[in-house]
Amino acid sequence: MNFKSTIGLEVHFELKTKSKIFSPSPVTYGAEVNTATNVIDWAMPGVLPKLNKDVYRLGIMVALATHSHILPTTHFDRKNYYYPDNPKAYQITQFFQPLARDGYIEVEVRGKKKRIGIHEMHIEEDAGKNTHGANGYSYVDLNRQGVPLLEVVSEPDMEDPEEAYAYLTKLRQIVQFTGASDVKMEEGSMRVDTNISIRPAGQKELGTKVEMKNLNSFDHVRRSLAYEEQRQQQVLLSGGKVQLSTRRFDEATGKTVLERVKEGDADYRYFPEPDIAPYHIKQSWIDEIKETLPESPFERRNRYINDYGIKAYDADVILQTKESSDYYDAAVQAGADPTLAANWLNTQINGYLNENQIGIKDIKLTPEHLAEMIKMIKDGTISTKIAKKVFKESMENGTDPKKYVEDKGMVQLSDLSVLEPMVTKVVDDNPQSVEDFKNGKDRAIGFLVGQIMKQTRGKANPKVVNELLNKELQSR
């Protein structure tokens, strides 16, 4: 029997604001426990939430970047449940009216383009963190309490784990390029929950869905979905029923493990949050945000390929992260040849990053220095060979390439008044090579170039030397 999978994803992004969504506490990562908190985060009696409107701006950016329809009036609701990391015992979220609905993103899987719908996206606050000590006590850290989140809920449009993987990759890229979130899964600024159900091919109604929470990499998402497809098939083939449940992915075994069976939906007693007035989002504000919206990865890709003439593959490598794309743009902006810049970025710089396990933000070579170096290669000031030395120096010590080349006397020798007498002399000294040249032996010229390089300690411009030698030999 053939089965069809239906996959939907819920992705939480931490919105990149300076302070929390409803309190003036700072948004931090890795701060000492409970230091980024105040009376609001602790849900002291009498406190009120005060909305940080920047969350709307960032949310609208993501909505625009995903072709979503922004609702003109938005308000918050309370989701009621008890847990120590949820001090008010309600989470302020958007239940009745989200920020935006009905968007989509386009992905490419196995060479085929597909549109994946975005059902809705809403803004909400994050909870704190509970940790359980070995001494039998549990501890609550409220630093994360009130960090703004944007939850993006896809339509159940994905039919296999590869599509889910492609969707996540694309969604992360889009959100990252808006600058609305750091999208770091390892720091929790991007979190993924998945839903998957399977049904026999031809059957209309969807199967029972299984939810998987807190997957900590895209690879885990793909592997856990693939495992679930197989597991659910076996359950159905052996005559069993898939349970409405939450499972988690066990990294060590590559299997999913049952966490809890759901018996009906939990009753969160949602109702409109009375402490925050409904907010009307003006079209003029949306237009304003649209104006300031950073160029999307899609637009950048077009620019790279069509305007700069670089290869699609190179463009995609550059666009893997916003940082590398920003770096590339800065280098081109500073006058680097786009093709050379792409080559240097994708080979030398990426190689250096991989070797040292660091990010592009950590390196000392500025895009401006890279551009300077490329200009020197292009105008013949330095050879590619010398450039590699310069690159190493700038990368390690942040040295200005131009200054370095001048200080170290690495400037290529292209001066004809110097090179011409040298060429005449080297041909005079090596009569055999004139013979060889006349007999069509190309090696002869290589030998002569080598002699000149030796005399100039590698600084002679090989292109110029070649031309001069050719001319000289032909005249003999």
Binding site: M44, P45, K50, Y82, P84, P274
Partner: protein, 479 residues
């Protein structure tokens, strides 16, 4: 010292003239509270070391050095704030409510925290972990509620002014029961930052004083926008004292027949007399209808209880307040702490509200109640299109006896029928003493359109000037 024959102006003059010092005023006030409160139990916490602010400026600040009482559901930095609940019996706040910051800036002296129904849920101040408060006019009667402590403190002359809070009549009903003035401003006029939430869309802090002008003075200080509360209006705050001493000629006064029909006999006569006095002074009296009045009690109890059920979830025994002993696990901490920490009336409302919000009931109860609320607002809009104020009785009957209604919640809830609408519609509303019925005070309620406290003060001040109720002394305070 007691304040039965004082007001803010008279005290301000004495302080300015050096006839009394602010230090001795604070000291005498506290001594008198300690002496008289054995009868009343109006206070939960008396700040015995209360001292006036430094560098008092009696010219710039009318409230400079004036002792003020604060209902104990308003957060005071460093003064225990309990909401009259076992749940918060030991809660020491670490910040000030905005109204407190403003009073401090105006150099008022905060002398303590007054009793209330637990979490402001009740109309008698009997539902308090700290025991019932007694009515200064008759110690066997309730002072009303939930701001019963503030009302009794003012009526008995313990203080000249007190802050209360009003979610469904909690300022106006006790003001009426105690023969004082009390105003619930427009929703959004006074910051709720630091008011322990009950029904967030209804709660409003207000003022209780013997004299109308004194409330205008205090409201001048506490009103206005606040960065901590986004539901407070940015509207400019007028000088409310400018509405004192004006005449009411041409004032358009609506009298809802549903309100007048709710009272009878001597009570109705007393209220009618006030309306007649307005008419005699040239006001235009229009009989009107508030057709949805019969729905306001159920409507209010659904909305207020729903919001309360959510607002009171934070009292979970984890971070502050009461925590049950001998708990085995997390659920046990929650269940036992809340079972032991909350009183009966609070639990009743949490259950009512939780039910109204639950998945199966939301559409039938909460959503329906929200729609009815819109209809009630429409009733008011229609009347205020052609009238400046609405007047009628504040209460259906004078104060009842302690213990009389506490076991009959429905009867207790129905007492609120005349005051609830103002909260649902968000309009300003006050109660001004109208007279005595069987020796107990009754009040005239005055409402105006949103942000028109001015007309409320103007009308109330006229009634006060006309009936001079303030000359009467509460019988229970005579030795």
């Amino acid at each position: 010292m007691n304040y039965l024959n004082e007001n803010i102006d008279s005290l301000n003059k004495k302080l300015k003239d050096g006839e009394i010092s602010a230090e001795s005023l604070a000291k005498d006030t506290i001594e008198n509270i300690k002496k008289t409160d054995e009868k009343l139990n109006a206070w939960i916490t008396v700040k015995e070391d209360a001292k006036p602010a430094e560098n008092l400026d009696f010219n710039a600040n009318k409230l400079a050095g004036i002792p003020i009482a604060i209902k104990d559901n308003i957060i005071t930095n460093g003064i225990k704030t309990t909401a009259a609940s076992h749940m918060l019996y030991n809660y020491m706040p670490m910040y000030d409510a905005t109204v407190i910051s403003k009073l401090k800036k105006a150099q008022a002296t905060i002398v303590g925290k007054t009793n209330l129904d637990e979490f402001a849920m009740g109309s008698s101040t009997e539902h308090s972990y700290y025991g019932a408060t007694h009515n200064p006019w008759n110690l066997d009667k309730v002072p009303g509620g939930s701001s019963g402590g503030s009302a009794a403190a003012v009526a008995s002359g313990q203080v000249v002014a007190a802050l209360g809070s009003d979610t469904g009549g909690s300022i106006r009903q006790p003001a009426a029961f105690n023969g004082i003035f009390g105003i619930k401003p427009t929703y959004g006029r006074v910051s709720r930052w630091g008011l322990i939430a009950f029904g967030s869309s209804l709660d409003q802090i207000g003022v209780m004083t013997k004299r109308v002008k004194d409330s205008a003075e205090v409201l001048n200080v506490i009103a206005g926008s606040d960065e901590h509360d986004s539901t407070v209006s940015e509207k400019e705050v007028p000088d409310f004292t400018s509405f004192i001493g004006q005449d009411v000629k041409g004032l358009r006064v609506a009298v809802p027949k549903e309100y007048m029909d709710a009272v009878s006999g001597e009570m109705r006569e007393v209220i009618q007399k006030q309306i007649d006095s307005l008419k005699d002074a040239g006001a235009i009296i229009n009989e009107v209808s508030l057709p949805h009045t019969k729905y306001v009690v159920p409507d209010y109890y659904i909305i207020a209880s729903s919001e309360a059920s959510s607002n009171l979830q934070r009292y979970d025994g984890i971070r502050y307040g009461y925590r049950a002993k001998d708990t085995k696990n997390l659920l046990d901490v929650y269940v036992k702490s809340r079972s032991e920490g909350f009183g009966t009336e609070v639990k009743r409302r949490i259950m009512l509200g939780s039910f109204a919000l639950s998945a199966g009931s939301y559409d039938r109860f909460f959503r329906q109640a929200a729609k009815v609320r819109t209809l009630i607002c429409d009733d008011f809009d229609k009347i205020f299109a052609e009238n400046d104020v609405i007047v009628g009785p504040t209460i259906t009957e004078p104060a009842f006896g302690i213990g009389e209604e506490v076991s009959d919640p429905i009867k207790m809830y129905n007492n609120d029928i005349l005051t609830i609408s103002a909260n649902l519609a968000g309009v300003p509303a006050a109660s001004v003493p109208a007279g005595l019925v069987d020796g107990m005070p009754v009040g005239l309620q005055i409402m105006a359109k949103r942000f028109d406290e001015g007309n409320v003060f103007k009308t109330a001040d006229f009634i006060e000037r006309t009936n001079k109720f303030y000359e009467k002394t509460p019988a229970g305070m005579e030795d």
